[in-house]
């Protein structure tokens, strides 16, 4: 049977680093990129005698995330120890949540070619990150950097509701958007603060019994997620085709070779010996705290996208870009309060504004002009006070200097000329100088018209009102 006769079944475990200033069980900084072992203390080093104390922000972020993903929040959740030996695991166990996680039974809606699809969330739990082993850095030795040990993570586990690599990527993107919107995660895959594992199995189409699954570890880009899943599906189909059985194991995506390879099999799977963490009392979340968090929840990306299309009448394409990041969406809405041609506003956002932000590397928060000033510029363009092209220059200047559009137009003499007499004089002059071109035009070579427009505009340094230039040229050419 070819691959197309098989149905892949995929579930994702997303690991998101929480945007807290300090670690989950001590006061050490979570800043990325510090000198190795700089951000450590006896607690996160797992020294003898130390005890963990929960950073309350972590629980707040978990509740916020749980509510956004429509989970049930457990009034009392329990911490557990997951025991295993590894050099970068200081205590010999990881403090995590096991059988009683803080959030359960949620959902996330994604878009697929077949329409909307709901992916069920099995659970969300909090845990501490481990450190990092650096191999062969010190003359054949392995070194351990524990800056990351104790950094708070959320693990978000989906049900195996995803059916192909595209859905998996869509889910991961949607999840990232939600977490970034909530302000709980920076969505940074490169630095590993947002990463995922994928559980992949295949079954013959029409079957209802899932095949044996393999776990693909630490996928840190959308591309690798897609590639690894597709490779793994093909591999598992091959295994089945050749009459063998897929064995349950943990596999790694080899970026260079483009294959997944076995990391450890079930036979040497860890017995983590989970048990309730005796150093931490159960975590209680009051109904009031849950209510307050629910009320404080921001509008989520998907809801905002839908509202942008309905309220502003924008095409889905525009709405998606405008709502991809919360600050951009907020800024758009601030401008929309001053300017009601929303599609035109969107065009300026998607074109000029995003280009400037990207080119100058400026964050939206550092913009030097107000939404009202941007609206003022657009009105000026609409009213013909300044041409659309000159308007772009004005925006660039606003971006750099923060001056008002009116001042810039005045200073730079960018005001558009709509005086019929002045334009007519230039048109006459250009036509007089180009008798030959007039012949061609009259002989039927209509594209010469563009040449005349260009000449007139150049002579007017771009300030001629294009509509009037066109109208006068046509009249003079006898059309």
């Amino acid at each position: 049977m070819p691959v197309s006769d098989f149905q892949p079944v995929i579930g994702l475990e997303v690991h998101a680093q929480l945007l807290t200033q300090s670690k989950i069980f001590c006061g050490c900084s979570t800043a990325f990129g510090a000198e190795p072992n700089r951000n450590t203390c006896p607690v996160c080093l797992g020294m003898p005698g130390v005890l963990p104390v929960l950073n309350q922000r972590v629980a707040e972020f978990a509740v916020r995330t749980g509510l956004a993903l429509e989970c049930t929040i457990r009034p009392t959740s329990v911490w557990s120890r997951k025991n295993y030996f590894y050099p970068d695991l200081p205590k010999g166990y990881q403090i995590t949540q096991f059988d009683q996680p803080i959030c359960e039974h949620g959902r996330l809606v994604i878009d697929t070619p077949q329409g909307e699809k709901t992916i069920r969330i099995l659970r969300i739990h909090m845990e501490e990150d481990a450190g990092k082993s650096v191999h062969d850095a010190g003359g054949g030795q392995s070194l351990v950097d524990l800056n990351r040990a104790g950094v708070p993570l959320l693990e978000i586990v989906s049900q195996p509701d995803l059916r192909d690599s595209d859905e998996a990527v869509e889910y991961l993107k949607a999840m990232r958007d939600v977490l970034v919107y909530l302000g709980v995660n920076d969505g940074n895959l490169e630095e590993g603060s947002f990463r995922c594992d994928a559980n992949v199995s295949v079954m013959p189409k029409g079957s209802t019994t899932f095949g044996q699954r393999c776990e693909l570890k630490n996928l840190n880009s959308f591309r690798f997620l897609k590639q690894a899943i597709e490779y793994e599906i093909a591999r598992q189909v091959d295994v089945i085709e050749s009459g063998e059985k897929v064995i349950q194991e943990t596999r790694l995506w080899d970026v260079n070779k483009g294959v997944t390879r076995s990391m450890r099999g079930k036979e040497d799977a860890h017995d983590y010996r989970y048990f309730p963490e005796p150093d931490l009392p159960p975590l209680h979340v009051s109904a009031e705290a849950i209510d307050a968090a629910a009320k404080a929840l921001p509008e989520l990306p998907r809801a905002k996208l839908q509202r942008f299309t309905s309220q502003y009448g924008l095409p889905a394409y525009d709405a998606r870009i405008l709502t991809a990041e919360r600050p951009l969406a907020d800024y758009f809405e601030a401008c929309a309060g001053h300017y009601t041609d929303y599609k035109k506003l969107s065009n300026w956002f998607l074109g000029e504004l995003m280009r400037l932000l990207k080119e100058e590397g400026t964050p939206l928060s550092a913009l030097r002009f107000t939404p009202a000033q941007l609206a003022e510029l657009l009105v000026a363009v609409d009213q013909g006070t300044v041409s659309a092209n000159a308007g772009k220059d004005v925006l660039g200047e606003m971006f750099r200097s923060g001056k008002s559009p009116a001042d810039i137009i005045a200073e730079k003499g960018l005001a558009q000329v709509s005086d019929t007499g002045a334009i007519e004089a230039v048109v006459d002059d250009i036509l007089a100088k180009n008798a030959g071109e007039i012949e061609k035009y009259r002989a039927g070579k209509k594209q010469v018209f563009g040449f005349f427009v260009g000449q007139v505009m150049r002579a007017m340094k771009g300030k001629g009102n294009p509509a009037l230039v066109n109208e006068l040229l046509k009249k003079k050419l006898g059309d």
Partner: protein
């Protein structure tokens, strides 16, 4: 009368009256250690320089008229399970030999702030696992009342140092009786506070849900004064209680008239030494004479306590001891050629047999397939044991029992028989499972001159009640005036 014969509060009085200086008292303690410790072997390490510096600082405060508290200047010993910044701390294990902690345990900080010179680190069973001090990786401690016998464990070093008048008081920790049992075997007062009353931060963990530091002293009043210093909510210990801390010395002399004292049936069964039983029975009659009413009570799940304890404590210990892997601190096996070697050889060489036995027990109890049958079931029984106590305390104000079923036994006598050793804690460990406060107070001697201890168990956070009940008995007998023959 020598300075080292004084109790903590007697010495504190002389310090307050400026009859002696802290430096003199501390030097007296150091001299006494030098004189008797070669026989007792209570100290793993003496910090002479640190103690004298603290003593001189204390004297300076006195001279300036601003002592840090009642016990300012009174020297103290610490079980080597408490982390002391800059002073080697080993937990009685080879694995931590040479480990110099970078921070103080919360209680150590509190003691320093209260001005007590800390003279040194006291011997213990390795990682507090044992009932005789014989599992110390360094050497066994001896009972000052009979040097051929054990002082009990695991805080045996603390008990012996106090009984030998090397220090007027010490801190121990109690996971299944490790403060009370050695106190009983050495004619000292040992108090295990309510779980959460004293911070565990910086105390090397044995079994997290059971461990509790507490005072070991010669008198009840000293225990009250020392508890006053260390009982404090601690933001660094999430299991620390923020229940208000009363004045533990206030009602010490209030007596027991009108109190109902429970005598748990299950604590008076076979296996108890007849001389111990006789002493305890006599103490019960004394309480009646003093105006208390004895009430027969039942704690029906007591028979499961030992099994429950020996599932929960090793399970937690197996996890708590995983950090001793040779990677970051302590010893690392020199012959290790691979990562796995680092772990296995370091732990093979570093841990003693009792610690290994418990790690294996705990690992087994937690392993998949056995968790439900052992650990989880033990937790359920633990709840039943706790409920037994809750019911009992609806009828009575406190419970009375022997602390240890037998007086101090010979060194080497039970080493080859772990079960016999585990039975030493049979009366003390239900209290840890229930998180209750418990106290052992001297209540007599056997014909051979070995001390016997009476255990008093109370409601959560009723340390004051236990101290008051203990003091009523102590006032009648003054056993603390009898000195070990050294």
């Amino acid at each position: 009368m020598q300075l080292t014969d004084l109790t903590m509060l007697e010495l504190a009085e002389k310090l307050a009256a400026k009859e002696v200086s802290s430096e003199e008292a501390t030097r007296a303690s150091l001299a006494r250690i030098q004189q008797v410790d070669p026989k007792v072997r209570a100290f793993l390490r003496v910090d002479e320089a640190g103690a004298l510096a603290a003593a001189r600082a204390s004297d300076a405060r006195r001279a300036a008229g601003s002592p840090a508290g009642v016990l300012d200047g009174v020297p103290l010993g610490l079980k080597d399970l408490f982390l002391t910044e800059g002073v080697e701390t080993t937990a009685g294990s080879r694995l931590l030999e040479g480990f110099v902690p970078p921070y103080d345990a919360t209680v150590v900080r509190l003691l320093k702030e209260a001005g007590l010179p800390l003279v040194g680190k006291l011997n213990l069973d390795e990682f507090a696992m044992g009932s005789s001090n014989e599992s110390s990786a360094y050497f066994s401690c001896h009972n000052p009342w009979d040097l051929s016998r054990t002082p009990g464990g695991s805080s045996g070093g603390s008990a012996a140092a106090v009984a030998a008048r090397e220090v007027p008081g010490a801190l121990g920790t109690d996971t299944g009786g490790s403060i009370r049992q050695p106190a009983a075997l050495t004619n000292t007062v040992g108090l295990k506070p309510t779980y959460g009353r004293v911070s565990r931060y910086g105390v090397i963990a044995f079994a997290s849900s059971l461990d509790q530091p507490g005072p070991m002293t010669r008198t009840v009043a000293d225990a009250a004064a020392l508890l006053q210093v260390i009982a404090r909510p601690d933001v660094q210990d999430a299991t620390s209680s923020d229940a208000p801390v009363p004045d533990y010395s206030a009602d010490l002399e209030a007596g027991v008239r009108g109190l109902k004292l429970g005598v748990p049936r299950e604590y008076f069964t076979e296996g108890m030494d007849p001389e111990v039983e006789a002493s305890i029975r006599e103490a019960l009659r004394e309480y009646e004479r003093l105006g208390a009413t004895l009430v027969d009570v039942s704690l029906p799940h007591t028979k499961y306590a030992l099994a429950t304890y020996y599932l929960i404590a090793p399970a937690e210990a197996s996890s708590n001891l995983a950090r001793y892997d040779g990677v970051r601190f302590g010893k690392r096996a020199q012959d290790a050629r691979s990562l796995r070697d680092v772990y296995t050889l370091t732990r093979e060489e570093g841990f003693g047999s009792e610690v290994k036995r418990r790690i294996m027990l705990g690992t087994y109890a937690l392993s998949s397939g056995y968790y439900d049958a052992y650990y989880l079931r033990a937790q359920k029984v633990r709840t039943l044991i706790r409920e037994d106590f809750t019911r009992a305390f609806q009828q009575v104000d406190a419970l009375l029992s022997p602390t240890s079923p037998v007086p101090a036994f010979k060194l080497g006598e039970k080493v080859e028989d772990p079960m016999a050793m585990y039975l030493m804690d049979i009366y003390t460990l239900p209290c840890n499972l229930a998180g209750l406060p418990g106290l052992s107070v001297p209540c007599g001697f056997t014909k051979a001159g070995l001390p016997v201890g009476l255990q008093i168990l109370g409601r959560p956070f009723d340390e004051a009640g236990l101290l008051r009940i203990a003091r009523a008995y102590e006032r009648e007998h003054d056993f603390f005036r009898r000195f070990a023959p050294l």
